[in-house]
């Protein structure tokens, strides 16, 4: 059982404030991922939870007990570091047993726990080796094993996969997901990679400049981003953002103008928009449609077509707009210079006001939440 609550936690280093009042609850057995660009404070937040840093203000409550001033060693948490931080002079076995020895567990119990974790992580054959005789993925597994044997209240992961090559990262990601399913602990995971966040998390916390931008399940963030930052951060390739202006807003609907004379009609009125307001239209590459016949929303010229076999990415330019990315399924025989007509399905549109806040509109009700 582990329940963690952060209550208006702030952290400053000197005059530089890194964390601006974070409120967050993490429930038992949740897999929460902190995601954000570098320097957003996600690692600092994790270190605050770990007890490796002291918050400047605010409280950290674990299972109803205020642990704000409890040292890291007494919080009962385990952390996997980006650098793995394996003790180089100890064997794999010793690395895993170190925490248990410090906790004063009997030999037999230590041996049993280490053996179990080693077999879970397929490290049985390497127990006598020193970390330098292991390759990246194995070191990573030792670091995870060191956390598992402790049977901690919460597992903390600080960008654990960022030192691995792409292939290994995918494999380890799957292992981590499997591990969470198997041991079912509460996990807090920091990454800058939104794919890791989407695939692993039961809940994602998107951070920017020390503030929570949005908190929710991966699909919630994908389907209903609260703001432009989350909308462009989640999803790969990132969402196309088209600056637009409100041309008409009346009972007939809302008409938006963008680019060089393109318009887009919405059936309903959108929130507080009035004629003349600047705003942004967001549409994900996978939701743009190439229209063969029938009405289209804009015309574009292909700058570059990437054939990936299973899918095709078109990078298109339209007068007055930044480059648009369009994903089409299958193999599309299109090349540079071809003209395409693009359609934006209304129920897939994301609208944002001039400040980047999401505007709810009638069409999105059709989307899964």
């Amino acid at each position: 059982m582990a329940h963690l609550a952060l209550q208006s936690v702030t952290k400053s280093f000197g005059s530089l404030q890194i964390i601006h009042g974070i409120d967050l609850e993490v429930g038992d057995r949740e897999f929460v991922v902190f995601v954000g660009p570098s320097g957003c404070g996600k690692s600092t937040l994790l270190r605050l939870i770990a007890g490796l840093e002291q918050p400047t203000s605010g409280d950290i409550v674990m299972d109803g007990r205020n642990v704000t001033h409890v040292p890291a060693s007494d919080r009962g948490l385990a952390m996997v570091f980006q650098s793995y931080a394996l003790y180089p002079h100890m064997s794999v076995y010793k690395n895993m047993a170190f925490g248990l020895e410090n906790a004063g567990l009997p030999r037999a119990e230590i041996d049993q726990r280490v053996t179990r974790a080693a077999s879970m992580l397929r490290l049985d054959d390497y127990l006598d080796r020193k970390p330098k005789a292991l390759y990246g993925g194995q070191r990573q597994r030792v670091a995870i094993g060191r956390a598992i044997v402790r049977d901690p209240k919460i597992f903390l992961f600080d960008e654990p996969l960022s030192n691995l090559d792409a292939e290994l990262r995918v494999a380890m990601r799957k292992e981590l997901a499997g591990l969470h399913a198997e041991i079912g602990g509460t996990m807090i995971y920091v990454t800058h990679d939104q794919v890791e966040a989407m695939t692993l998390a039961s809940r994602i916390v998107v951070l920017r400049s020390g503030r929570i931008e949005q908190l929710g399940s991966p699909l919630e963030l994908y389907n209903r981003p609260d703001n432009l930052f989350v909308a462009t951060f989640i999803g790969s390739p990132k969402m196309n953002v088209i600056p637009a202006e409100v041309i008409a807003a009346d009972a007939g609907g809302t008409r938006l103008g963008f680019g060089a004379g393109n318009t887009l009609m919405l059936d309903s009125l959108v929130g507080p928009l009035v004629v003349g307001d600047a705003m942004s239209i967001g549409i994900r590459p996978e939701h743009c449609e190439v229209v063969r016949d029938g009405p289209a929303d804009c015309e574009a010229v292909i700058d570059l077509a990437e054939q990936l076999g299973g899918e095709t990415y078109l990078y298109c330019s339209t007068p007055g707009l930044a480059q648009l990315t369009v994903r089409e399924a299958g193999q599309q025989m299109k090349t540079r210079g071809d003209r395409v007509r693009l359609g934006f399905p209304r129920d897939r549109l994301h609208l944002f006001d001039a400040q980047g806040r999401a505007l709810r509109h009638g069409h999105e009700a059709a989307r899964p939440s």
Binding site: A50, S73, S83, Y87, N102, R146
Partner: protein, 349 residues
């Protein structure tokens, strides 16, 4: 690389370049500069007191050849004698009277030949005066001094390693206000030479009742700023993640110090150990000040006893100096690779 191939190294693949010659000349100069005195010391340690004071000095230990002649109790010194007829003969000198020497031919010991002093040249041979080594080992309480020196060196080095590493741990692993100022203060004490604090430290030692006690030699120098600095710089390069991982692993500060930081600082500790052994073994001024009874002398102070006010027994002094050099040479031979690796690793990453 073997020694021979190392000695044959050249700049290019082709002929000997002039820079090769210059390099080897320079290196040879270095070897002579470094090893010349040691070689001179070692060879001289086998000379008799008389041979040491001889002028011009000889490189090899030599002494006059002697021969036993029937009818004489002691062996007689041998000379090359130029006879009146211009021939030379090897004769033994029975006795000297004024400017004349009474010489005899060992083949017919009854006939005495009178020879002027300037007509004879001593017959020399290379001879090692082993007594330089054996005599002091009997008279001079060598084993006791050696024991004292070993005790001081070993105990002082252990204490130095222990407290310097603890200080370095505090100054590198902990972050606290004034950390750098403290470090600067410690480094600053390097600028105070021992001669300045000799008297005050002596007073403290007297007050503690430690005069003539080996602990008086060990304790005052146990914390060396050089050691703290060396270890701290090394510990600063240890990844912080390791320390934090250990904290997460419920390790106490003692456990982090003893089980993580110390084992990982072994190269730096080895360097400090070598330095400490050399400092302590060769330490002279401070032990001379606090040790006045011969039973508490260290080797270096014991050696000083050969140097009297009126007369210095150079032959014994040199021989014992050679013996004193041996342990430190052996220690250095085994640990020198740590010095290179350790010094390369200390300092900034």
């Amino acid at each position: 690389m073997s020694v021979t191939s190392a000695l044959a190294l050249r700049r290019g693949r082709g002929r000997l370049h002039w820079t090769d010659l210059a390099s080897y000349a320079y290196l040879l100069f270095g070897v002579v500069l470094m090893f010349g005195p040691v070689l001179w010391l070692t060879l001289s340690s086998f000379k008799t007191q008389a041979a040491l004071l001889e002028f011009p000095p000889s490189l090899l230990p030599t002494s006059q050849r002697e021969i036993s002649v029937p009818g004489f109790d002691k062996p007689l010194p041998q000379f090359n004698v130029t006879m009146d007829d211009g021939s030379t003969r090897v004769l033994a000198q029975a006795r000297r009277i004024g400017l004349q020497a009474q010489m005899i031919d060992p083949a017919e010991p009854t006939r005495i030949i009178r020879v002027a002093l300037d007509k004879r040249i001593p017959l020399r041979e290379t001879a090692f005066a082993w007594s330089n080594y054996t005599e002091p080992l009997k008279q001079f309480d060598f084993m006791r001094y050696l024991g004292n020196s070993v005790f001081v060196t070993v105990v002082a080095t252990l204490i130095t390693l222990l407290i310097n590493s603890m200080a370095a741990y505090a100054l590198s692993i902990y972050e606290f206000p004034g950390r750098n100022a403290t470090m600067l203060g410690i480094i600053g004490t390097l600028m105070i030479p021992i001669t300045i604090i000799l008297v005050p430290v002596y007073l403290v030692v007297t007050w503690l009742g430690l005069v003539n006690n080996l602990w008086a030699v060990i304790l005052p120098g146990a914390a060396t700023p050089t050691g703290v600095f060396l270890l701290r710089q090394y510990m600063l390069t240890l990844p912080r993640d390791l320390i934090e991982a250990a904290r997460m692993d419920k390790a106490s500060e003692w456990q982090i110090y003893a089980r993580i930081v110390l084992p990982l600082s072994l190269p730096a500790l080895a360097v400090l150990a070598i330095f400490s052994v050399m400092w302590r073994w060769n330490e002279f001024l401070w032990p001379l000040a606090v040790l006045s009874k011969s039973e508490s002398y260290t080797l270096q102070i014991g050696l000083n006893a050969f140097q009297g006010e009126l007369q210095t027994q150079w032959n014994y002094l040199l021989a014992m100096t050679v013996i004193t050099l041996l342990p430190i040479t052996v220690v250095f031979m085994f640990l020198q690779r740590f010095i290179v690796a350790g010094i390369a690793n200390t300092g900034v990453k």
